[in-house]
Every structure is written in C-alpha cells, then in structure tokens.
C-alpha cells in the first residue's frame, strides 16, 4: 500500500519544506501538464521508470527539455549499450505505487521502492522551482531542488545529480562513471507474478487503500559484476545471535586443538564439551553483546542528532 498525496504533503509540512501546490485535471504527459502549469515559470520535469536486464529499476527525473539518451545512460551505468529499457506498467503500480503517467521522485518514499535508484538532472539545481507530481496525476507541486533533497534525505535516499546530456566515451580507460548508482538488491516484485497485475485499467492507488500482498524480500542478493557497486547501502548485519555464534566458531576449533593436544583426548570427544559450554555461556554472552550494540547505537544516534542540529544537511558528506 503506497503513501497518498496527503500523506506526502503532510510529511513535507513536517519537514518544513516550502512548496506550492497546483490542482488540475488528470494529466498523463508532460505536454498536457504544461498546458496547466507551464506558464507559471517553474521547470517541468519528465520522469522515466527504467529497468535493466537484471530487473533493477531506475527513476530518471530530468528537466523536460533535457535530452535523455538511453544508450549513453546505459553505458554510463555500466550496463552495456542497450541495457536499459522502459519498465513495464506493473513496476509502476507495484514498486513505485503510483498510477500511469505519474512517475515522480516522491514515489521513493514507499518502502516497496527502497531498491530503486534515483537519477536527478543536474539542471534542476539551477532552477528556482521544479515541478513534480506528488504521487497523483491531478496535482503538481513546485519546490526547489534543495528542498527536494531535504525530502529525499528524510526518506533515506541520497540525492544523485547527474549530467544527463553528457556523452563520455565509456571504455577501458574511462570506466562507467555512474556505476555506483546501480542498485545492489534485486527489487521485490520484479519477476514474481501476482494477482494484482491489472492488464488495462489503472487502479487509483491514491485514495483507495488496498490490502496488497507484501512479498518477503528475496534473501538472495544479485551477484554483481565488478563494475557495479551498490549505491543503496546494504543493511548492517547487527544480529546478536549471529555474532555470538561467530565468536564460538573462532574459539571452538582453537579450544579443541589445544585441549586435545594437552590432554591427549580425541577432538570428537571434546566437541560435546563445546556444545555444553556454548549452551551455558550463550545467554551471558548475548547479554553482553546486546549491551554493546545498545551503547553503540545510542552513541551513534546522539551523534547524528547533534550533527543535524548543528550543521544540517551539510554535516553529512555527499556521495558524488
């Protein structure tokens, strides 16, 4: 179930982001949108949802006037010459959870879109206000690119601005410069057929909350080739259980080899000892490790809070 326009606008208010809102009839193309808001002086955007051969998704948001060459973009991402194509409608509905004609950077606030990579036209930076759909086709909101950044950071996305018209020759001496923007995870609903694929009619996601089946994220991470690194950070492995097990994996073989040497007992006979040890020590070790995890998290949390308080967005290094 995706966020609604109202939820998005409420969130923008919460973040104290300035924006202007324009209502108009439903529009499916930039040309139609231009008829209603084109005269107001802001920069219209065209938004594409693209897919690569490994079913990874990209939202490319550009100034309406920017020429986006898919072949060049594909090469810059390290996907080869024809690695990118328009994503099918299902991805729009399931992953971005927006209707047809409504691709927008704001769709990335949905958890279903967490593995989608966002590429923003560098050109937005020089415009005072840029136009995007706020998850619905019958409204356009105008905001500055720095405010868009503020929003994206708040939903855990680092804004990535790209010169979409640049056409560098990609080769051995010139590696794909956008390779870091390729997502590392395979998105949720790429291959799996669901009962929700609507063939012709576009269900309006905005006002009718449907109970969609949330598919569990596949545990298998796509084995990437050397060139593509993840732009989307993998979640840290902070499992206390696993840590304690790993500790025993280190200690056990060492103990077994030392003990069997010194005591002249076979290793197999000692292994039941290890199991007993493990059973008895585990609760205390887990307690200790949890304490360390809590302390680290707390420390980091307060550091992050202070950074934001004192330095705002500038406190965090940019990834470009």
């Amino acid at each position: 179930m995706g966020y609604t326009k109202d939820q998005l606008l409420a969130r923008l208010h919460e973040l104290k982001i300035d924006f202007t809102c324009y209502d108009h009839p439903v529009v499916l193309t930039v040309e139609e949108q231009a008829k209603h808001v084109g005269h107001l002086g802001g920069a219209l955007s065209k938004n594409l949802l693209l897919k690569d051969k490994k079913h990874r998704l990209y939202v490319v948001s550009a100034l309406a006037g920017t020429k986006v060459d898919m072949k060049i973009l594909s090469q810059c991402l390290g996907l080869g010459k024809s690695g990118l194509r328009m994503a099918p409608e299902e991805n729009l509905l399931q992953v971005l959870q927006v209707p047809l004609g409504c691709v927008t950077p704001f769709a990335l606030m949905n958890e279903s879109a967490s593995a989608v990579s966002l590429l923003l036209d560098q050109g937005f930076k020089s415009k005072q206000s840029c136009y995007f759909h706020p998850l619905t086709n019958d409204v356009t909101i105008a905001l500055s690119s720095s405010n868009l950044d503020k929003f994206l950071v708040s939903v855990g996305k680092q804004p990535a601005y790209v010169d979409l018209e640049a056409a560098p020759a990609v080769g051995k001496d010139n590696p794909p410069d956008l390779a870091h923007l390729v997502p590392s995870d395979v998105p949720n609903s790429s291959e799996q057929p669901t009962e929700n694929t609507a063939p012709a009619t576009v269900p309006h996601q905005n006002n009718v909350p449907k109970e969609t089946e949330v598919k569990a994220k596949p545990k298998v991470q796509s084995k990437d080739t050397g060139t593509s690194q993840s732009k989307v950070d993998k979640p840290y492995d902070t499992s206390v259980d696993k840590f304690v097990n790993d500790m025993f994996d280190i200690i056990s073989p060492l103990f077994l080899s030392e003990a069997s040497k010194k005591l002249d007992i076979k290793k197999e006979e000692l292994s039941s000892l290890i199991d007993a040890l493990k059973g008895r020590a585990a609760p205390d070790l887990e307690s200790l490790v949890t304490g360390l995890k809590n302390a680290s998290y707390t420390s980091g949390f307060h550091a992050g809070f202070d950074t934001m308080l004192n330095r705002g967005l500038n406190g965090q290094p940019s990834r470009n």
Binding site: V214, S287, N294
Partner: protein, 406 residues
C-alpha cells in the same frame, strides 16, 4: 443417601468456587483450588494454544520454541493462527506489550511477558512497541505526575535490560507520547464504547473518577499501526500481536470489538498464566511484602533466604513421610518457579519425577531453584547496570526503525 448429599454439596461448592474467581486487569483472586484456567478460557472466549501450534511457530521461525511455549505457560490465544497464516505468506506484523510502572522494583513475574516478547521479536524478526502507562498509575495510585514519569523511566531501564533489539523497538510513556495520531485513535475508540459497556468490562462504578473511565482507549490504541505514524505510515492494515498475562484480556476484548467498527484490524493475543507468589498460588504478590516475590534487585543471599524460608513447599512434613508419599507438585511453588525458569526440559522432568516420588527432598529442589534464579537475576543486574539515561532516551526517541522487518 450420603453419596447424593455429597454430590449436591459438591456442586454447591463448585458454584462457590466459580463465583469466587475474579480476573480483570486490577484484580486477580483465585477460588479454592487456585485459578481454574479452563474455566477462564471458556469464560473469556479465547482459544487454547496446543502443541500443534507450538510446532507451527517453531517451523515458521526456524527457531526452537521458547520454554514458556513448550511448557504451556503461554497457553491461550486469540487469532494467533491468522497471524501465522499471514506470516507464512510473507506478511509481517508487529508486537505490542507494556507495563504499568507502579513501583521501582520489578519482580520476576513482571519480567515474564518481557522475556517472552524478546523471544518473539528475535524469532519472528518483527518490530515492537512497548507502552509505559504512567498515566494509568497516576490515575489509580496515589502518585504525582512527576513520580509516575520517573518510575516509567526507571522501569524502562529494566525492560531494556531484558535484551530487546534497539533497531526494532520503540518504548514510549503515555505522558510523553499521547497526542497526534495516537490521540486521534484514542478518541475514535472512545466514541465506540458506552459507559455501560465500560462498566461491564472493567467494573467501574459511579464513584470512580472520570480519569479511570476514559483510560481504557489509551491501552487499546497501540494495537493499531496508525497510532505510530513515524513507524508504520502507510501500513494501516499491519497486524498486531500482543503477548500479555491473561488478566489483560478484557482490554483487548474491547479493542477487538471496536477495531472493525473503525476500519482497523483486530489485534491478536497470546496469553500467559499467572506467576505464583512465593507463599503459594492463593496469596498475592504485593509491593508491601518483599517476601512475596523475588525482585530483580535481590542479592544471591536474599534469594537464598526467600526461597528457603518462604517458598511454599509441596513436600511432606517429615523426611520419612516424604520418602513414602512424595511431594504434591500442584502446590509446590519451587517446582512452579523451575517450570518458568529452568531451561533444560530433561532436567526439569527428572526433578519433577524424583520429587514427586519422594526420592528428592524439598531442600534439594530449592537449592537448584536458588542457583537458577541467582544466575538469572545476576545476569539481569549486569545488563541493567549497562543501561544509561542516553540509552533510555534513544529507545524512547520517536525515530524511524528502517531495519524493523529486516
């Protein structure tokens, strides 16, 4: 003749026992034979948690089932099957539990729902909200607002010491958090419950102040994900599972009744038996009698004294009699405590068998219990000592939990 009379006498006594058993969030008192859990389950209308369900949980979570499940200490539920069905299909849920911070000292009975909830969080890998009802304690006890808030924070430290995952846990106190979407849900619930109904469920009277009468929605709405927009925005139909002691059932009966009327999912429940006081099932654990329970602040020496002196024994009065007749496990508190806290199933069975058949003496059983409890309490104290004020602030910060389903 005599048999008939006896039969009549028996039914009359049964009825008396029935009438005597009182179970609601503010009062738990047993009839003659202790709490009749079967009657309770029937009376409340919840379902029993059977071995098949325990197996299912173990399979779904790929985790050995917690001893509270293995031993039937969490023994009843409402709609747990539904949550498991959905989980199997990949749909997550969140956990909700809480505490009324009425005193600084927690005893082992207080820890039980938290220990179980920690296991659920780990096994299912789901987020958890923990409510500290400091407002409830202010309304029901003779405390100031400041004292209630302070107790809530102190209790939060013990709760954190139980080992919850900071990346998946949000602790909040009512005085700190009520407002916004949470309050909107409270009012939605309140509008659906007449005073009549509240009196019927909670036993309020016209002499009770309106604070009490208007409190129940506060404990109801954490069952609804929309009460926590910073955690579950856009997930209005996310399910909730509530581990609690069975005396909390009335709150959630009310909640489950209201939920569909306001467009929300009913929360599911998983309910536990009561934890017996040291002096026996029919006595009350009370803050005024420190010997009625083992506190998490007790030293090993205090635990030893309390168990040896006050734990009600089901053993016989003399060793000879004991060897002959064995112990009555139904009333023996040490065995009940071991049931809760001794992890090893085989060892527990062995002790029960030997004790029942008179080969093991009460002293030996108590000795084992003292060792188990001392270890537990010491571990808790160590963990508690590591909890700082900043950690409490962090667990209670209204922050996103991005890995909460990871």
């Amino acid at each position: 003749m005599a048999a008939a009379e006896q039969a009549v006498g028996a039914t009359k006594e049964d009825r008396e026992v029935e009438e005597e058993q009182v179970v609601n969030p503010w009062e738990v008192s047993a009839g003659k034979g202790g709490i009749d859990y079967d009657k309770l389950v029937d009376q409340f209308g919840c379902q029993r948690l059977d071995a098949a369900l325990v197996d299912r949980i173990a399979r779904l979570t790929a985790h050995p089932p917690h001893r509270f499940l293995r031993r039937g200490l969490f023994f009843a539920h409402r709609d747990l099957n539904e949550i498991l069905d959905l989980y199997e299909k990949g749909e997550k849920f969140y956990l909700y539990t809480g505490r009324g911070p009425s005193s600084e000292a927690l005893h082992l009975g207080h820890l039980i729902p938290f220990m179980f909830t920690k296991y659920l969080q780990e096994a299912f890998k789901v987020p958890l909200v923990i409510q500290l009802t400091d407002d409830e304690k202010f309304l029901w006890k003779n405390l100031t607002v400041e004292e209630s808030k302070r107790l809530a924070r102190e209790n939060a430290k013990d709760i954190i010491a139980c080992g919850f995952d900071v990346e998946r846990t949000f602790i909040f106190s009512d005085f700190g958090f009520v407002g916004g979407a949470f309050y909107e849900n409270m009012v939605r619930v309140a509008r659906c419950v007449t005073i009549n109904k509240a009196v019927g469920i909670f036993g309020f009277s016209l002499e009770d102040h309106i604070g009490k009468v208007s409190f129940p929605p506060v404990q109801a709405v954490p069952s609804f994900p929309s009460s926590f927009p910073h955690l579950f925005a856009g997930k209005d139909q996310l399910r909730c599972l509530i581990p609690c002691a069975i005396d909390q059932d009335p709150y959630f009966r009310m909640t489950r009744d209201v939920a569909p009327r306001i467009g929300y999912q009913k929360p599911s429940l998983i309910e536990s038996r009561f934890f017996p006081a040291l002096q026996g099932e029919n006595t009350k654990m009370s803050a005024s009698d420190p010997n009625s329970a083992i506190y998490v602040t007790d030293s090993t020496k205090q635990i030893k004294t309390k168990v040896n002196k006050y734990a009600f024994s089901g053993g016989q009065d003399s060793i000879e009699l004991h060897r002959k007749l064995g112990a009555n496990l139904d009333v023996d508190v040490s065995i009940k405590y071991l049931n809760f806290f001794l992890e090893d199933d085989d060892e527990l069975e062995h002790i029960k068998k030997e004790y029942k058949e008179g080969r093991m003496l009460t002293g030996e059983v108590k000795q084992r219990l003292i060792a188990v409890l001392s270890e537990l309490v010491a571990r808790h104290q160590r963990a508690r000592a590591q909890v700082t004020e900043e950690m409490v602030d962090t667990f209670m910060a209204v922050r996103p939990l991005p890995n909460m389903f990871g």
